[in-house]
């Protein structure tokens, strides 16, 4: 009998090691952003840093509606990207998202500033994560298809009439499921 009781006690204490699951851990992979990496057009294997790149979502203010790349920056610098990789959030409830990419946005010479607009076309799926996090959305960029149904992963247009600064754009990974990989390569 004592054996049974001690077994039950061990079992009970083994169970009581509580688990916390009410708060969504920030490290949990949830809705991913689109990861864009910039390369040198003259030397396609070399990463190239952008200068003061500002990315504005469609219908957002150009002054304070940009995507924040630098949390610690002040009112102007927090919207500026200067690395070779950026991550931008797509709309989770739409089939396309349009951004304006402003290169060298802080240049005092207006002629040096170049704006390109890019629209990403995709489908999205809602995937269960956990009780605390709920669901996440993953995206699949539309394939290139000229025969019906016609589809295209992105549309690149010149927003300000001074040519495209993003000279080549390639889809590397159409499945946007994590932020650990590059989805789009841009050569400039």
């Amino acid at each position: 009998m004592k054996k049974i009781i001690s077994f039950l006690l061990v079992f009970t204490f083994g169970l009581s090691s509580c688990e916390k699951d009410d708060i969504c851990d920030p490290d949990t992979p949830t809705t991913p952003r689109l990861v864009i990496t910039f390369y040198d057009i003259n030397n396609p294997t070399l990463l190239k840093n952008v200068t003061n790149l500002k990315v504005i979502g469609q219908d957002k203010s150009e002054v304070n509606g940009g995507i924040i790349f630098n949390e610690s920056g002040d009112e102007t610098t927090k919207y500026l990207a200067n690395g070779s990789t950026i991550s931008i959030p797509l709309k989770t409830n739409a089939e396309s998202t349009t951004f304006t990419f402003i290169s060298d946005s802080q240049n005092p010479n207006p002629a040096a500033i170049n704006k390109d607009a890019i629209r990403f076309n995709y489908t999205h799926q809602d995937i269960y994560v956990s009780r605390a996090c709920g669901f996440k959305t993953t995206f699949t960029l539309n394939p290139v298809s000229s025969s019906p149904p016609v589809s295209i992963p992105f549309v690149l247009t010149d927003a300000d009439g001074n040519g495209l600064w993003m000279q080549q754009v390639f889809v590397i990974n159409p499945k946007i499921e994590t932020e650990n990989e590059t989805h789009i390569k841009v050569f400039f």
Partner: protein
């Protein structure tokens, strides 16, 4: 949500204290019995042998059936809950009871990001061991036992929210889904600790706490079992907890006469 959590934890705390107390009292009663019994046996040993017919005790054996009042009454104040649990036990030997619970639950779980409803029936079976040493004709129980539980249920995902750590485009409103997942099953084992007191005649009032461990769980494709009838809320691991508050009626079937063990045991020793 916050209030239910608070309520849940405070009630857990309350029961843990009750449990501790229950164990304390049971040990002290054992001590009380053994401590004065030893000197007595030496002095009153011949007396005990003579008074043997008086120390014979009749134990009643039978079936106890009851209902979980907590589940029954919760439906009155909690619009997200409907449930019933029938409990029963049958006395096998002096200390052992076969015990079983049968129930139905319909529970809507409203979490911050998910809202789902689980509906289903469950059965639990196992045994209880009575730790309590009754005096004279008392029939109270402090039990510890093991159960195996099995549930068949369905889950409906009513609505959900998308978790987006970068809400640049704003927080999306909850998506109404109403997708139903049928034919789900789960199995678990639980350690049940309980207390039953005879309040009058054959009516018993009791409550119990159960610690559960999930051993089998068929999860729906693309979702999870957030609530399993009988098992209650699930956590990230396999841990679960539950309690009940029962009122039951004892149906006596036969009686067995036993000689009080203190007198019987100490005779062959010396």
């Amino acid at each position: 949500m916050k209030h239910t959590l608070k309520y849940f934890f405070s009630s857990c705390l309350l029961f843990s204290m009750v449990l501790v107390q229950a164990q304390e009292t049971s040990t002290t009663t054992v001590k009380k019995e053994t401590a004065p019994a030893k000197p007595k046996t030496e002095t009153a040993k011949p007396e005990l042998q003579e008074v043997k017919p008086d120390s014979i005790k009749t134990d009643r054996y039978g079936l106890r059936v009851g209902v979980d009042l907590y589940k029954l009454t919760r439906g009155l104040y909690d619009k997200d809950y409907k449930g019933i649990e029938i409990v029963g036990d049958f006395r096998l030997t002096k200390k052992y009871y076969i015990a079983a619970e049968l129930g139905f639950e319909d529970k809507t779980t409203d979490d911050d990001r998910l809202n789902s409803t689980a509906t289903g029936t469950y059965i639990k079976g196992g045994f209880d061991y009575n730790l309590y040493q009754n005096w004279l004709d008392m029939e109270n129980l402090i039990t510890i036992g093991l159960r195996g539980g099995f549930s068949t249920f369905s889950q409906e995902l009513n609505s959900y929210k998308i978790y987006n750590p970068n809400p640049y485009w704003g927080e999306q409103p909850p998506i109404v889904d109403n997708k139903k997942y049928n034919g789900l099953t789960a199995g678990w084992i639980e350690v049940a600790m309980g207390l039953k007191a005879k309040v009058f005649n054959n009516v018993f009032v009791g409550f119990g706490v159960q610690l559960k461990m999930l051993v089998a769980n068929t999860k729906p494709d693309g979702f999870d079992n957030l609530y399993i009838p009988g098992f209650n809320r699930t956590y990230d691991g396999s841990f679960g907890i539950g309690f009940n508050y029962t009122v039951s009626y004892f149906i006596p079937i036969y009686k067995k006469k036993t000689i009080i063990p203190t007198a019987k045991k100490e005779q062959p020793k010396k």
